[in-house]
């Protein structure tokens, strides 16, 4: 009797161990999906400043985001360990006079989009505590687009405390993928036992 159940007990233990052994925390990918109204003007780089409980915005506390032309998006990689300390975020746009069309904002970790923001909510008055160098910030709720007119005078927006914490507070420990892999392995093994085991080669 013991022998009969031993493989199942071992499999269950392996599953639980796999599930509960802590993996490292994944970084956060904060992405802004943006196109320039004039493609020629779109420069390569955006900058994300961050403030912590002990220090405010400074040149030392920046994360650079590259503009990916193929996907129309800027990606900032926020280190998982750093994310716990961040209290405020400031998005610095390129020093160009241009109109940026922002049509999606996401925060993902471990390969899964954890938060998706409507640009009209993201750049609404309650979520922006300060701004500079912008000559326009038009929200078009009907199309969920935010149009931001930037000048060459260090344009930026400072996000509110709540929104900043919301963006950085989604670091993943790969729990979903671990459950998916376990469930998938379980299903396949079960079908193997029930049907394929006695198949001829």
């Amino acid at each position: 009797m013991k022998k009969k159940y031993m493989p199942y007990i071992l499999a269950l233990l392996a599953f639980l161990a796999f599930l509960f052994i802590p993996f490292h925390r994944a970084d956060i990918l904060f992405r802004i999906w943006v196109t320039g109204m004039d493609e020629e003007l779109m420069p390569e780089e955006f900058v994300l400043y961050y403030a912590t409980e002990t220090s405010g915005f400074s040149q030392e506390q920046t994360i650079h985001g590259d503009y990916d032309k193929a996907h129309d998006r800027v990606t900032f990689r926020i280190n998982a360990a750093l994310a716990d300390q961040i209290t405020l975020l400031r998005i610095d746009f390129p020093n160009e006079t241009q109109v940026l069309n922002i049509y999606n904002v996401t925060s993902s970790s471990g390969g899964v989009i954890k938060r998706q923001y409507n640009p009209c909510n993201f750049f609404s008055e309650e979520n922006i505590t300060a701004q500079s160098g912008l000559y326009a910030l038009d929200l078009v709720p009907r199309f969920a687009h935010a149009y931001i007119g930037t000048t060459g005078d260090d344009p930026y927006v400072v996000l509110s405390d709540g929104l900043s914490r919301n963006i950085v507070g989604c670091s993943d420990r790969f729990l979903l993928i671990k459950i998916l892999i376990s469930a998938y392995l379980g299903l396949c093994s079960w079908l193997y036992e029930k049907s394929f085991r006695e198949n001829e080669k």
């Binding site: 994944a26 990918l29 193929a70 390969g111 892999i181 049907s195």
Partner: protein, 414 residues
């Protein structure tokens, strides 16, 4: 199993549908300046128009079969450039489709399965378009077994499948001389089949060297393993098998020679877009992680169906010759993807992931073939039916992703 007029009609209807989808896909993607078709059509192809720039063009794309086909339509038949590019993509899409159909038909004949023309056509069509699963909430890039956006990969696809089938028959005959051949009749010896394999491998390298980069080392490891096991058995068969290994190596020589010439032209003569890149050994999965934060999820989305078959029916993939060869292919392809890259700006281009993508297609093909064979076997309990349903559901999900790919690609506005 003779084909009737209706069978041909059905077979070519699916082929025509595939060609139509590919045609509109190519025509639309040519408008996008960052697409592969745009680069190959407007940047590389014009190099071959005149003798003056021919050498420069060849250095940049020494794997120029697709370009010469497009050139044939453009220069000889005087068809507009964009349409020539689309037509040459259609030619190779149809070629792959017919090869898939031929493989499925040969296996059905061998296993005495009475599969109708509709089923074979539909499966072949689906195998031509299957894509990784995609969900809006997933933020990882999954490498495709059918990168339809790349003209040269689409060009090599048919040749790669033929090489695999021919190598399978040769390897089986070398192991057991009573093997008559499923795809090619090998009962009267292997001499001409070695020549066929050499030619097919060479053509695959001429189309794109990435399949050979994976397949030649995989076949070599496969044969070396068998040779070592024979040495261990001490039954005197190791010597004969070693001669087979040498014969197979000779088959690979033309392909290897041209691959080295390509490598030389590309990396040393400045063909690599003039960016002076070179082959480098990277950290484990370094290149992959540029595009996918979660490699396990990326792989799972690409190979959900083949992984299901490998895990649910592991004996087929560990004991049959074709199953073992496909696992060797994927293993080598994965290692190349995990450890190789191009230096400099081109690191993110993932140029050494292509071999793994070819191996993924072989896994897809064998998983489909295996599921079809099992479904037609005598075992039809409720558990078997459930397993077959799960398998076909996953296969259909990949095929549906392929349909979505075409819809998105054809309707995209640039």
């Amino acid at each position: 199993m003779k084909k009737t007029k209706n069978d041909f009609l059905i077979m070519f209807s699916f082929g025509f549908l595939l060609m139509a989808l590919v045609y509109f896909d190519v025509i639309n993607s040519l408008k996008y300046y960052l697409s592969d078709y745009n680069g190959h059509t407007y940047v590389y192809l014009p190099h071959f128009f005149s003798k003056e720039y021919f050498w420069e063009g060849w250095k940049a794309v020494p794997y120029c079969m697709w370009h010469f086909t497009a050139l044939f339509f453009y220069k000889i038949l005087r068809i507009p450039l964009e349409v020539s590019a689309a037509y040459s993509a259609c030619v190779y899409a149809l070629f792959s489709y017919l090869v898939f159909y031929w493989i499925l038909q040969k296996i059905a004949l061998h296993r005495e399965i009475d599969d109708g023309c509709v089923k074979l056509s539909l499966l072949s069509f689906c195998l031509c378009i299957v894509q990784p699963l995609s969900f809006y909430w997933v933020d990882v890039y999954s490498f495709s077994m059918n990168p339809l956006y790349n003209p040269t990969y689409m060009c090599v696809r048919g040749f790669s499948l033929l090489c695999f089938c021919l190598a399978y028959d040769i390897l089986c005959y070398q192991k057991n001389p009573e093997h008559k051949g499923i795809f090619f009749k090998v009962e009267n010896g292997l001499k001409k089949h070695y020549v066929y394999l050499a030619v097919l491998l060479f053509l695959s390298v001429l189309a794109k060297p990435t399949f050979a980069e994976m397949f030649i080392p995989a076949a070599a490891f496969f044969m070396l393993t068998e040779w070592m096991m024979r040495i261990g058995r001490k039954d005197g068969s190791a010597g004969t098998y070693f001669k087979h290994c040498l014969n197979m190596l000779l088959c690979a020589v033309p392909a290897l020679a041209y691959a080295f010439v390509q490598f030389f032209a590309y990396f040393l003569l400045g063909g690599s877009y003039g960016q002076g890149g070179s082959l480098i050994i990277t950290g484990f999965l370094e290149v992959w992680k540029i595009h996918a934060d979660n490699v396990a999820l990326s792989l799972l989305l690409s190979l959900l169906f083949p992984l299901f078959m490998i895990l649910a029916d592991p004996r087929y993939f560990t004991e049959s010759e074709e199953g073992k060869l496909s696992i060797f292919c994927f293993g080598i392809g994965f290692l190349e993807a995990a450890f190789l890259g191009e230096s400099g700006q081109k690191l993110a281009d993932c140029d050494f992931v292509w071999p793994m993508m070819s191996a993924m297609l072989i896994l897809f093909l064998l998983s489909t073939v295996r599921l079809n064979v099992l479904e037609n076997s005598q075992n039809r309990s409720k558990w078997h039916n459930l397993a077959y349903a799960c398998g076909w559901f996953l296969f259909a999900a990949h095929a549906f992703s392929g349909v979505l790919y075409f819809i998105n690609s054809i309707t995209a506005e640039y």
